[in-house]
Amino acid sequence: MNTQLFKGEKVRLTALNPDKDAEVMSAWSHDADFLHRTTTEIAAPIPPPGYKKKIEEWMKDMDKNEVFVFGIRQPGDERLIGMAQIYWVEWPHGAAHFTIGIGKPEDRNKGLGSEATRLLLRYSFHELNLHRLATFVSSWNADGLRFLARFGFVEEFRRRESLYIMGQRYDQVGVSLLKEEWHDN
Protein backbone atom coordinates (compact mmCIF):
# COMPACT_ATOMS: atom_id res chain seq x y z
CA MET A 1 0.00 0.00 0.00
CA ASN A 2 1.47 3.31 -1.10
CA THR A 3 0.49 5.74 1.62
CA GLN A 4 2.60 8.66 0.41
CA LEU A 5 -0.38 10.61 -0.90
CA PHE A 6 1.32 14.00 -1.04
CA LYS A 7 4.83 13.17 -2.28
CA GLY A 8 5.77 12.62 -5.89
CA GLU A 9 9.19 12.53 -7.58
CA LYS A 10 9.06 16.03 -9.02
CA VAL A 11 6.34 17.69 -6.93
CA ARG A 12 4.64 17.55 -3.58
CA LEU A 13 1.21 18.69 -2.47
CA THR A 14 1.46 21.01 0.52
CA ALA A 15 -0.59 23.31 2.72
CA LEU A 16 -0.94 26.94 1.66
CA ASN A 17 0.68 29.66 3.75
CA PRO A 18 -1.71 32.65 3.99
CA ASP A 19 1.15 35.18 4.14
CA LYS A 20 3.94 33.97 1.85
CA ASP A 21 1.79 32.20 -0.76
CA ALA A 22 -0.62 35.14 -1.06
CA GLU A 23 2.26 37.20 -2.50
CA VAL A 24 2.95 34.59 -5.18
CA MET A 25 -0.70 34.10 -6.08
CA SER A 26 -1.14 37.85 -6.38
CA ALA A 27 1.70 37.88 -8.93
CA TRP A 28 -0.04 35.11 -10.98
CA SER A 29 -3.28 37.12 -10.99
CA HIS A 30 -1.56 39.76 -13.12
CA ASP A 31 -1.41 37.23 -15.99
CA ALA A 32 -4.84 37.31 -17.69
CA ASP A 33 -3.96 34.25 -19.80
CA PHE A 34 -3.43 32.23 -16.59
CA LEU A 35 -6.75 33.49 -15.22
CA HIS A 36 -8.62 32.63 -18.44
CA ARG A 37 -7.22 29.08 -18.32
CA THR A 38 -8.16 28.45 -14.71
CA THR A 39 -11.43 30.33 -14.10
CA THR A 40 -14.42 31.89 -15.88
CA GLU A 41 -14.57 34.76 -13.38
CA ILE A 42 -13.84 38.31 -14.55
CA ALA A 43 -10.04 38.58 -14.87
CA ALA A 44 -8.70 41.05 -12.32
CA PRO A 45 -5.37 41.42 -10.51
CA ILE A 46 -5.86 40.82 -6.81
CA PRO A 47 -3.46 42.25 -4.18
CA PRO A 48 -1.83 39.90 -1.61
CA PRO A 49 -4.34 40.72 1.19
CA GLY A 50 -7.15 39.52 -1.13
CA TYR A 51 -5.46 36.12 -1.51
CA LYS A 52 -4.61 35.99 2.20
CA LYS A 53 -8.33 36.29 2.93
CA LYS A 54 -9.16 33.67 0.29
CA ILE A 55 -6.62 31.19 1.69
CA GLU A 56 -8.03 31.70 5.18
CA GLU A 57 -11.56 31.08 3.88
CA TRP A 58 -10.40 27.89 2.11
CA MET A 59 -8.84 26.69 5.35
CA LYS A 60 -12.17 27.17 7.11
CA ASP A 61 -13.93 25.26 4.31
CA MET A 62 -11.30 22.51 4.63
CA ASP A 63 -12.24 22.13 8.31
CA LYS A 64 -15.82 21.49 7.13
CA ASN A 65 -14.61 18.99 4.47
CA GLU A 66 -16.21 21.13 1.76
CA VAL A 67 -13.03 21.92 -0.12
CA PHE A 68 -9.48 20.51 -0.34
CA VAL A 69 -6.78 22.98 -1.36
CA PHE A 70 -3.10 22.24 -2.02
CA GLY A 71 -0.06 24.29 -2.85
CA ILE A 72 2.18 22.59 -5.43
CA ARG A 73 5.94 22.75 -4.68
CA GLN A 74 9.09 20.89 -5.76
CA PRO A 75 10.97 18.65 -3.28
CA GLY A 76 13.31 20.62 -1.06
CA ASP A 77 12.07 23.95 -2.38
CA GLU A 78 9.52 26.13 -0.60
CA ARG A 79 8.67 28.17 -3.71
CA LEU A 80 4.97 27.90 -4.64
CA ILE A 81 4.71 26.83 -8.31
CA GLY A 82 1.02 26.03 -8.55
CA MET A 83 -2.26 25.33 -6.85
CA ALA A 84 -4.84 22.57 -6.94
CA GLN A 85 -8.28 22.46 -5.47
CA ILE A 86 -11.03 19.87 -5.07
CA TYR A 87 -14.30 21.72 -4.50
CA TRP A 88 -18.10 21.44 -4.78
CA VAL A 89 -17.95 18.06 -3.07
CA GLU A 90 -21.34 16.37 -2.97
CA TRP A 91 -20.73 13.67 -0.38
CA PRO A 92 -24.02 11.77 -0.80
CA HIS A 93 -23.28 11.36 -4.52
CA GLY A 94 -19.50 10.96 -4.30
CA ALA A 95 -19.09 13.72 -6.87
CA ALA A 96 -16.69 16.67 -6.92
CA HIS A 97 -14.99 19.18 -9.23
CA PHE A 98 -11.34 20.20 -9.33
CA THR A 99 -9.02 22.82 -10.76
CA ILE A 100 -5.25 22.86 -11.12
CA GLY A 101 -2.87 25.55 -12.33
CA ILE A 102 0.88 26.06 -12.65
CA GLY A 103 1.41 29.80 -12.12
CA LYS A 104 4.42 30.75 -14.24
CA PRO A 105 4.77 29.85 -17.94
CA GLU A 106 8.41 28.73 -17.36
CA ASP A 107 7.24 26.07 -14.86
CA ARG A 108 4.84 24.53 -17.40
CA ASN A 109 5.47 21.65 -19.84
CA LYS A 110 7.91 19.99 -17.45
CA GLY A 111 5.59 17.30 -16.17
CA LEU A 112 5.01 19.10 -12.86
CA GLY A 113 1.27 19.66 -13.44
CA SER A 114 0.91 16.07 -14.67
CA GLU A 115 2.43 14.58 -11.55
CA ALA A 116 0.42 16.91 -9.30
CA THR A 117 -2.73 15.81 -11.16
CA ARG A 118 -1.83 12.13 -10.64
CA LEU A 119 -1.48 12.79 -6.90
CA LEU A 120 -4.75 14.72 -6.86
CA LEU A 121 -6.61 11.88 -8.63
CA ARG A 122 -5.25 9.29 -6.22
CA TYR A 123 -6.29 11.51 -3.30
CA SER A 124 -9.78 11.91 -4.82
CA PHE A 125 -10.40 8.24 -5.51
CA HIS A 126 -8.37 6.49 -2.80
CA GLU A 127 -8.69 8.90 0.11
CA LEU A 128 -11.93 10.84 -0.41
CA ASN A 129 -13.43 7.72 -2.05
CA LEU A 130 -15.15 9.80 -4.73
CA HIS A 131 -17.15 8.15 -7.51
CA ARG A 132 -16.47 10.89 -10.06
CA LEU A 133 -14.32 13.96 -10.51
CA ALA A 134 -15.21 16.65 -13.04
CA THR A 135 -13.89 19.91 -14.37
CA PHE A 136 -14.67 22.55 -17.00
CA VAL A 137 -12.50 23.71 -19.90
CA SER A 138 -13.09 26.53 -22.39
CA SER A 139 -13.37 25.20 -25.95
CA TRP A 140 -10.47 27.45 -27.08
CA ASN A 141 -8.15 25.69 -24.63
CA ALA A 142 -7.03 22.70 -26.73
CA ASP A 143 -3.97 22.19 -24.49
CA GLY A 144 -6.17 21.86 -21.44
CA LEU A 145 -8.51 19.39 -23.15
CA ARG A 146 -5.56 17.27 -24.37
CA PHE A 147 -4.01 17.35 -20.90
CA LEU A 148 -7.19 16.03 -19.29
CA ALA A 149 -7.78 13.39 -22.00
CA ARG A 150 -4.36 11.89 -21.13
CA PHE A 151 -5.71 10.99 -17.68
CA GLY A 152 -8.84 9.46 -19.17
CA PHE A 153 -11.22 12.40 -18.70
CA VAL A 154 -14.21 12.04 -21.01
CA GLU A 155 -16.10 14.94 -22.60
CA GLU A 156 -19.70 14.85 -21.42
CA PHE A 157 -21.35 18.16 -22.32
CA ARG A 158 -20.81 21.37 -24.23
CA ARG A 159 -22.58 24.45 -22.93
CA ARG A 160 -22.78 26.12 -26.33
CA GLU A 161 -21.47 29.71 -26.60
CA SER A 162 -21.69 30.13 -22.82
CA LEU A 163 -18.31 31.88 -22.56
CA TYR A 164 -17.46 35.29 -24.02
CA ILE A 165 -13.73 35.84 -23.90
CA MET A 166 -11.62 38.45 -25.74
CA GLY A 167 -14.48 39.23 -28.11
CA GLN A 168 -15.33 35.67 -29.07
CA ARG A 169 -17.91 33.13 -27.99
CA TYR A 170 -16.72 29.70 -26.82
CA ASP A 171 -18.35 26.57 -25.44
CA GLN A 172 -17.80 25.48 -21.88
CA VAL A 173 -16.76 21.83 -22.12
CA GLY A 174 -17.53 19.56 -19.18
CA VAL A 175 -15.25 16.56 -18.68
CA SER A 176 -15.18 13.91 -15.99
CA LEU A 177 -13.36 10.81 -14.85
CA LEU A 178 -15.17 8.00 -13.06
CA LYS A 179 -13.35 5.94 -10.46
CA GLU A 180 -13.78 2.80 -12.59
CA GLU A 181 -12.07 4.58 -15.53
CA TRP A 182 -9.11 5.76 -13.48
CA HIS A 183 -5.75 3.99 -13.62
CA ASP A 184 -3.28 4.77 -10.84
CA ASN A 185 -0.01 5.18 -12.74
Binding site: T40, E41, E90, R132, R158, R159, E161, Y164
Partner: protein
Protein backbone atom coordinates in the same frame (compact mmCIF):
# COMPACT_ATOMS: atom_id res chain seq x y z
CA UNK B 1 -42.70 47.97 -25.87
CA UNK B 2 -46.20 47.09 -24.77
CA UNK B 3 -45.68 43.59 -23.39
CA UNK B 4 -46.02 43.02 -19.67
CA UNK B 5 -42.65 41.40 -18.91
CA UNK B 6 -43.86 39.61 -15.80
CA UNK B 7 -47.11 38.25 -17.19
CA UNK B 8 -47.58 34.94 -19.00
CA UNK B 9 -50.73 33.16 -20.22
CA UNK B 10 -51.38 31.10 -17.07
CA UNK B 11 -49.04 32.63 -14.52
CA UNK B 12 -47.33 35.83 -13.51
CA UNK B 13 -44.01 36.46 -11.78
CA UNK B 14 -44.22 38.42 -8.54
CA UNK B 15 -41.98 39.45 -5.69
CA UNK B 16 -41.23 36.90 -2.99
CA UNK B 17 -42.09 38.31 0.44
CA UNK B 18 -40.14 36.70 3.31
CA UNK B 19 -42.73 37.90 5.84
CA UNK B 20 -45.72 36.23 4.20
CA UNK B 21 -44.22 33.49 1.98
CA UNK B 22 -41.65 31.76 4.22
CA UNK B 23 -44.19 29.42 5.78
CA UNK B 24 -45.44 28.26 2.39
CA UNK B 25 -41.92 27.71 0.98
CA UNK B 26 -41.05 25.73 4.13
CA UNK B 27 -44.10 23.52 3.52
CA UNK B 28 -43.10 22.96 -0.15
CA UNK B 29 -39.56 21.92 0.86
CA UNK B 30 -40.89 19.36 3.37
CA UNK B 31 -42.36 17.46 0.40
CA UNK B 32 -39.36 15.25 -0.36
CA UNK B 33 -40.64 14.20 -3.80
CA UNK B 34 -40.73 17.88 -4.77
CA UNK B 35 -37.37 18.63 -3.14
CA UNK B 36 -35.58 15.69 -4.78
CA UNK B 37 -36.76 16.83 -8.21
CA UNK B 38 -35.39 20.30 -7.42
CA UNK B 39 -32.11 19.87 -5.56
CA UNK B 40 -29.20 17.42 -5.43
CA UNK B 41 -28.54 18.13 -1.74
CA UNK B 42 -30.10 15.96 0.94
CA UNK B 43 -33.56 17.19 1.97
CA UNK B 44 -33.35 18.92 5.33
CA UNK B 45 -35.99 20.23 7.66
CA UNK B 46 -36.10 23.93 8.34
CA UNK B 47 -38.35 26.15 10.41
CA UNK B 48 -40.21 29.01 8.74
CA UNK B 49 -37.82 31.34 10.57
CA UNK B 50 -34.81 29.66 8.89
CA UNK B 51 -36.49 29.98 5.48
CA UNK B 52 -37.34 33.63 6.13
CA UNK B 53 -33.72 34.45 7.02
CA UNK B 54 -32.49 32.59 3.93
CA UNK B 55 -34.91 34.55 1.72
CA UNK B 56 -33.84 37.85 3.32
CA UNK B 57 -30.19 37.03 2.68
CA UNK B 58 -30.91 36.43 -1.02
CA UNK B 59 -32.68 39.80 -1.26
CA UNK B 60 -29.74 41.50 0.51
CA UNK B 61 -27.31 39.98 -2.00
CA UNK B 62 -29.46 41.31 -4.84
CA UNK B 63 -30.43 37.78 -5.93
CA UNK B 64 -34.14 37.62 -5.15
CA UNK B 65 -36.31 34.82 -6.46
CA UNK B 66 -39.63 35.32 -8.23
CA UNK B 67 -42.83 33.96 -6.82
CA UNK B 68 -44.99 32.24 -9.47
CA UNK B 69 -48.67 33.11 -9.08
CA UNK B 70 -51.54 31.57 -11.00
CA UNK B 71 -53.15 34.36 -13.03
CA UNK B 72 -56.77 33.47 -12.40
CA UNK B 73 -56.71 33.09 -8.61
CA UNK B 74 -53.42 34.93 -7.89
CA UNK B 75 -52.49 31.92 -5.71
CA UNK B 76 -48.73 31.40 -5.20
CA UNK B 77 -47.79 28.01 -6.72
CA UNK B 78 -44.00 28.03 -7.03
CA UNK B 79 -40.80 30.00 -7.47
CA UNK B 80 -38.23 30.68 -10.17
CA UNK B 81 -34.97 32.60 -10.58
CA UNK B 82 -32.15 33.35 -12.99
CA UNK B 83 -28.62 33.15 -11.60
CA UNK B 84 -25.78 34.80 -13.50
CA UNK B 85 -22.44 33.86 -12.01
CA UNK B 86 -20.18 35.29 -13.49
CA UNK B 87 -22.15 37.96 -15.40
CA UNK B 88 -19.85 39.00 -18.26
CA UNK B 89 -20.51 35.96 -20.46
CA UNK B 90 -24.22 36.65 -20.95
CA UNK B 91 -25.23 33.25 -19.60
CA UNK B 92 -27.65 32.54 -16.75
CA UNK B 93 -28.90 29.44 -14.96
CA UNK B 94 -32.56 28.71 -14.28
CA UNK B 95 -33.96 27.55 -10.96
CA UNK B 96 -37.65 26.69 -10.97
CA UNK B 97 -40.03 24.67 -8.85
CA UNK B 98 -43.79 24.28 -8.60
CA UNK B 99 -44.33 23.61 -4.91
CA UNK B 100 -48.11 23.14 -5.13
CA UNK B 101 -48.59 19.59 -6.43
CA UNK B 102 -52.10 20.28 -7.77
CA UNK B 103 -50.44 22.42 -10.43
CA UNK B 104 -48.04 19.75 -11.71
CA UNK B 105 -48.32 18.55 -15.31
CA UNK B 106 -50.76 21.27 -16.38
CA UNK B 107 -48.46 23.72 -18.15
CA UNK B 108 -48.02 26.21 -15.30
CA UNK B 109 -44.29 25.59 -14.94
CA UNK B 110 -43.72 25.84 -18.71
CA UNK B 111 -45.66 29.09 -18.81
CA UNK B 112 -43.63 30.61 -15.95
CA UNK B 113 -40.37 29.39 -17.53
CA UNK B 114 -41.31 31.06 -20.83
CA UNK B 115 -41.83 34.34 -18.97
CA UNK B 116 -38.52 33.91 -17.12
CA UNK B 117 -36.60 33.18 -20.36
CA UNK B 118 -38.21 36.20 -22.04
CA UNK B 119 -37.08 38.33 -19.09
CA UNK B 120 -33.56 36.94 -19.56
CA UNK B 121 -33.42 37.79 -23.26
CA UNK B 122 -35.40 41.07 -23.36
CA UNK B 123 -34.35 42.66 -20.07
CA UNK B 124 -31.05 41.06 -19.00
CA UNK B 125 -29.94 40.85 -22.67
CA UNK B 126 -28.54 37.36 -22.17
CA UNK B 127 -26.90 35.44 -24.99
CA UNK B 128 -28.14 32.12 -23.64
CA UNK B 129 -30.01 30.51 -20.76
CA UNK B 130 -28.83 27.25 -19.14
CA UNK B 131 -30.37 24.69 -16.87
CA UNK B 132 -29.65 21.34 -15.32
CA UNK B 133 -32.15 18.56 -14.72
CA UNK B 134 -31.98 15.09 -13.18
CA UNK B 135 -32.33 12.06 -15.43
CA UNK B 136 -35.35 10.83 -13.45
CA UNK B 137 -37.32 14.07 -13.91
CA UNK B 138 -38.98 13.15 -17.24
CA UNK B 139 -41.83 15.62 -16.81
CA UNK B 140 -39.43 18.57 -16.44
CA UNK B 141 -37.29 17.48 -19.42
CA UNK B 142 -40.41 17.41 -21.60
CA UNK B 143 -41.44 20.87 -20.37
CA UNK B 144 -37.97 22.34 -21.01
CA UNK B 145 -37.92 20.94 -24.55
CA UNK B 146 -41.36 22.45 -25.11
CA UNK B 147 -40.02 25.87 -24.12
CA UNK B 148 -37.13 25.43 -26.62
CA UNK B 149 -34.21 24.16 -24.53
CA UNK B 150 -31.84 21.74 -26.28
CA UNK B 151 -29.96 18.85 -24.69
CA UNK B 152 -26.23 19.67 -24.51
CA UNK B 153 -24.90 16.61 -22.75
CA UNK B 154 -24.91 14.89 -19.39
CA UNK B 155 -22.76 14.60 -16.30
CA UNK B 156 -22.44 10.82 -16.08
CA UNK B 157 -23.71 9.14 -12.91
CA UNK B 158 -23.45 12.40 -11.00
CA UNK B 159 -26.18 11.39 -8.55
CA UNK B 160 -26.83 8.44 -6.27
CA UNK B 161 -30.42 8.22 -5.14
CA UNK B 162 -32.51 5.30 -3.97
CA UNK B 163 -29.50 3.08 -4.59
CA UNK B 164 -29.21 3.96 -8.29
CA UNK B 165 -26.81 6.11 -10.25
CA UNK B 166 -28.40 8.85 -12.38
CA UNK B 167 -27.05 11.32 -14.94
CA UNK B 168 -27.41 15.06 -14.60
CA UNK B 169 -28.61 16.52 -17.93
CA UNK B 170 -27.37 19.89 -19.21
CA UNK B 171 -29.73 21.93 -21.40
CA UNK B 172 -29.54 25.36 -22.99
CA UNK B 173 -31.26 27.81 -25.30
CA UNK B 174 -29.48 30.46 -27.36
CA UNK B 175 -31.05 33.79 -28.02
CA UNK B 176 -30.86 32.99 -31.77
CA UNK B 177 -32.97 29.85 -31.16
CA UNK B 178 -35.52 31.57 -28.98
CA UNK B 179 -38.96 32.19 -30.42
CA UNK B 180 -40.36 35.07 -28.39
Amino acid sequence: MTIDLFRGKLTRLAAMNPETDAEMVTRWNEDTEYFRLLDSGPPRLFTSKNTKEWMEKRIERGKPEFLIRELESDKPIGFCALWTPPPQHGNAFVAIGIGERDYWGKGYGSDALKTLVRYGFLELNLHRVSLGVFEYNARAIKAYEKVGFKMEGRERSAMLRDGKRWDFFCMGILRSEWVG
